[in-house]
């Protein structure tokens, strides 16, 4: 069960089930903020619909709330980073999202920035050791 949801103007990140003190939780939330966009753009290189993406991200270790992810998908679609298509073949009509070329390009830049930051942090961590 998710315990705390911390929100900013962009989206909410699930701060779930650990027993971290509240102070840690706030800082971790700051660190995780922004990764949901990147995770979604990467995961949706294979087309997927809302609920399936939620489960996919959860299995991959990215915790995100449904009420954050669903509006986020529409916002990314509006920005041209995702394209969408209705699939009515099955009993339930589902909206499939897919990362657009523009979205893939952004995902690459975000991933590069994430790696750069990780490297920088690793170097700083090594300096003190």
């Amino acid at each position: 069960m998710p315990l705390t949801i911390v929100c900013d103007t962009q989206y909410c990140v699930d701060m779930s089930p650990t027993d971290e003190p509240a102070l840690d939780a706030g800082h971790l939330q700051e660190l995780r903020r922004g990764t949901v966009v990147l995770a979604s753009l990467l995961a949706l290189r294979e087309p997927g619909y809302g609920y399936a993406l939620l489960e996919h991200l959860e299995r991959a270790g990215v915790d995100v709330e449904a009420n954050t992810l669903y509006p986020l998908l529409r916002r990314l679609e509006g920005q041209g980073l995702l394209s969408s298509e209705w699939n009515t073949d099955e009993s339930r009509p589902r909206k499939f999202y897919r990362t657009s070329p523009q979205g893939e390009a952004l995902a690459e830049r975000l991933l590069a920035e994430h790696r750069r930051l990780t490297d920088a942090l690793e170097r700083l961590a090594a300096e003190g050791a």
């Binding site: 619909y49 809302g50 609920y51 449904a66 009420n67 669903y70 916002r75 339930r92």
Partner: protein, 325 residues
Amino acid sequence: MTATTTPTLTERYIAAVVRRLPEKSRADVATELRASLADDIEARTAAGLAPEAAEREALVALGDPDRLAAGYAGTPLHLIGPALYLDWRRLLTVLLSIVLPVTAGGLVLARALAGDDPGEIVLGTAGTLVSVAIGLTFWVTTVFAIIERTGAGDRPLVAWRPESLPPGDGKPQVGVDVLVGGVLGLVLLVALLAAQTAWPVFRDDDGAPVPFLHPDLWSFWVPYFVVVLAAELVFSIVLYQRRRWSLGLAVANIVITLASAVPLIALIVSDSVVNPAFSARLADSEGLVTLGQQGSVVAAIAIGAVALWECVDGVIKAGRAARGA
């Protein structure tokens, strides 16, 4: 879906979400949300929950439909955001600090001249001030809430620049006590004028109140002092707005101080302040006879000393402000 007379919880939830959204995106969001909820409910039922409990849990997980709708529509969930908050607070502070003292001074004066009794003046003025403050706050807040929702709410209205820094050590030279002092003169005069008929110390043989002030003062000096004290109120508001003294303000301070102190001392020394009828009644009361004469000398000296200090004080503070101290 089977035909039912009462919509399911899910359908009620979806309706609550999409009613907040633009017409053109409603059907699309509703269909997608319906499938997502059905998937979630199915997964929870498969995990062993009863269908009703699964539906409840799925809806609780999605949370307040208005919050979800705001996420879809991208509307803010606050009245005034961090970008505009400081503009809002500054504008409101400036407006209230100008409008409220001016309104208070005007109301007290108007009601006193209309002959209201002091209790009425205080209560009536306080009541009006509360409504003015509430109204002003309401409209300023409404305008800012609209700005927040028109897309201009992502940056401050007034960009900050280093020139906006307060001079010197950043502590304003002038506090809110200046405003209190500015209103005080006017309030005291009006209170005196009202009190001498409302709560007379003495009554004549017909029972009419014996006013404390000399009746001749009404032809010129009472209106004169009202004007001078009003000028002092305006001066204190300007000074409070600027937060620092300047040479111009020091000069204005001297002019206004002398304009009130010199005639007041002259009137006291020439014994033209107190109503002779009042003095006569006072003289009838035992032990207070000589207090009138000595008292007027003491009062004249005290007024002179305070006025002199006020003039010097303004000049000293203007000098300090000029040196940036």
